[in-house]
Amino acid sequence: MSGTYLDYAASTPMRPEAIAAMEPYLSGVFANPSGIHRAAQAAKTALEEAREVIAEQLGARPGEVVFTGGGTEADNLAVEGGARRRRDVGAQDGVVTTAIEHKGVLAAVERLGREGFAVTVVGVDSGGVVDLGALAAALDARTAVVSVMLVNNEVGTVQPLDDVAALVRERAPNAVLHTDAVQAVPWLDVASHAQGVDLIAVSAHKFGGPKGTGVLVVRDGVALTPLIEGGGQERGLRAGTVNVAGAVAMAAAMRTAAEQRTVEVRRIGDLRDRLQQGLLAIPDAFSNGSQIHKVAGNCHVGFRGVEAETLLVALDLEDVYAAAGSSCSSGATEPSHVLAAMGVPRDDALASIRLSLGSASTSDDVDRALGIIPSAVAGLRARAGILA
């Protein structure tokens, strides 16, 4: 890939450590880890070693780590599995989440709503941080599941999970608390941020691991109804032969990300600040999301009078790769649900793009973006002006 990649929140290149780690498990140690023979045992050992590494990074015990087919599946399992279990065992019928969650959570919550659960979607402030007062008001003894993300995928805001956890324990004693931490790993110590949380979803490809591999941390004593049933793998919570190579690569990527986190957050944060300052110097530019609560890699900006969809094409034709909203909805003409929840006016939302930096981002990338984006915006504005 020759262009300037500014879409790390959508996916990241695999780290060399992860590629090297998984290679032996593609054809050498390939056996099904559930078998009895030594070939299987070798795979099983690798899988359990990976589980230990990931557990340590997430502040969990190895037995609490459930491998899944990615972040969305982990979110679905936590929200739907947690709610159904509590309905069946304890008659809880409430589900509480926020308006800025990833679709992996929101779609699961909508499905629960169709099953008869009482759904409450809590709003956020204009900076993109959950409204704790509204959250408190939504919680009661009937609440089965609360789902609040750790880092928002569009505007990068970090949510106050400790405060959320305290409210849940105080007001919703029968609820389990889930966090979608998919965007968090490169930027935050998830173990400390999510220590008061029962369920934590992460996805390998957001921090240099392979796609199609995720984890749900399920704390001891937290019961879930599985979504996928079969051979009883992963404590019966996720049937199907585990992706051993993916798990091994995920562990390696997570360890490397943790080792480099302090240095990388500073380095990438500086790059982001320079990028954002440069872009905000464009006339009629604005930024979205609280700057104080944002992770280091996120730059979310808009240029009034320039449709994001058009700008993304213009940038792509100049080999600059960016996104609008989340990657699942780019191309849609509806404004992002996250920006809408923050109260960003519709026209501004439709004019906003996300530039996200990551481990392979360089100062050259920022130079190139700042060389191209201002002139692209000016060109689109000029031609749109002629048209109007």
């Binding site: 058009t310 034709l317 191309g331 849609a332 060109g379």
Partner: protein, 342 residues
């Protein structure tokens, strides 16, 4: 030139893109996602988007998908439903060309700095000695699509390229085969892309209340009842659902707040010697009062006549054109303009 080519995922626009690349243009492909409903059958389904993407990859050109489902619903589908529910006969392909392909997409191409926009339509854009743009029928008479492009004026034609207009359909397929394009053997799209074959009334009735009413003869006498006006269009002979001795046709559809009246008559009673038009558009200057031919269906026979103000006078009577249908004027194979039957 910098050219944005609209790629539907069909063979014509695939070959259009290939020819532009071959001619040395800087080509970018775009596919418009227009419809996502269950009844999606035609030029806008996910499978077609993927075909377009793969052809673009094969041609090594950038390709983008624009999601226009909301615009398409507002500009094409809703008016289509409204027309049938009101006793008119819409032409959704014309509306799509006017508002989406040569409206939204042309604007978008301009904003992005493209010099031209291209499609796989079978028609030919030419420039005469005075510098005026002309639109001629496509080289393949059976595939000519100039009729659905009647609304293109000088402003649009100045930046429209139709790279397969000078080819027959067989040539297009031959070229696609020679290039190994995956769309070479794809069947032509037929019917209305968002409505399954024979499903028009069901589609309309799923989106608007049925408008039942009487069948009457031309003297106004009630001869039966129908359960929904969307099933009927002027000129229709089959599927009337009432037994009549001689061949009978729908000669009028009249919907008011009270009821939806369908008038049945003989072939003679369907004949007209003039068509009143609205929303007249001309490729260049209005033709004036001179002999020309008019076409009232996408692949209809040209009928000789004259245009007098907003009225076409036919040399010989022809079956009545349903309100809402396009009437295009030609001088030989040169499109002069058109309008909507009132």
């Amino acid at each position: 030139m910098n050219v944005l080519v609209l790629m539907s995922g069909g063979v014509d626009s695939s070959v259009a893109a290939a020819r532009l690349v071959d001619q040395g243009h800087d080509v970018t492909g775009a596919t418009l996602r227009l419809w996502g409903g269950d009844s999606d059958s035609g030029c806008c389904s996910v499978g077609d988007v993927e075909d377009a993407r793969r052809v673009a990859a094969q041609l090594d050109i950038p390709h983008y998908v624009f999601n226009l489902t909301d615009d398409f619903t507002t500009s094409v589908v809703d008016p289509y439903v409204d027309a049938y529910a009101s006793g008119r006969t819409p032409n959704p392909c014309v509306e799509c060309n006017r508002t989406i392909k040569f409206g939204w997409a042309v604007d978008r191409a301009r904003v992005l700095g493209f010099d031209a926009i291209a499609t796989g339509h079978h028609a030919r854009v030419e420039r005469d000695l005075d510098g005026e743009y002309r639109l001629r029928r496509g080289a393949d008479p059976a595939k000519d699509q100039s009729y659905v492009l009647y609304m293109l004026g000088q402003r649009e034609l100045a930046m429209v390229l139709l790279p397969v207009g000078d080819l027959t359909k067989a040539d297009v397929r031959g070229r696609a085969r020679a290039l190994g394009l995956r769309t070479a053997e794809k069947p032509d799209s037929m019917d209305v892309c968002f409505v399954g074959r024979g499903q028009r009334a069901e589609f309309v009735h799923s989106r608007t209340p049925k408008r039942p009413g009487p069948f009457v003869d031309t003297s106004g006498r009630v001869i039966g009842h129908h359960d929904g006006v969307a099933r009927f269009t002027i000129g229709q002979r089959r599927g009337l659902g009432i037994a009549l001795g001689a061949p009978r046709y729908v000669v009028d559809v009249d919907v008011d707040a009270e009821r939806a009246t369908v008038t049945i008559g003989s072939r003679d009673e369907l004949q007209r010697d003039a068509i009143t038009l609205r929303d007249l558009r001309f490729v260049a200057d209005p033709p004036g009062d001179r002999p020309l031919t008019v076409q009232t269906l996408a692949h209809g026979e040209p009928i000789p006549g004259r245009l007098v103000d907003a009225r076409v006078q036919l040399d010989i009577p022809a079956p009545r054109v349903a309100p809402g249908q396009v009437v295009a004027f030609y001088d030989g194979d040169m499109l002069l303009g058109g309008g909507i039957a009132a």
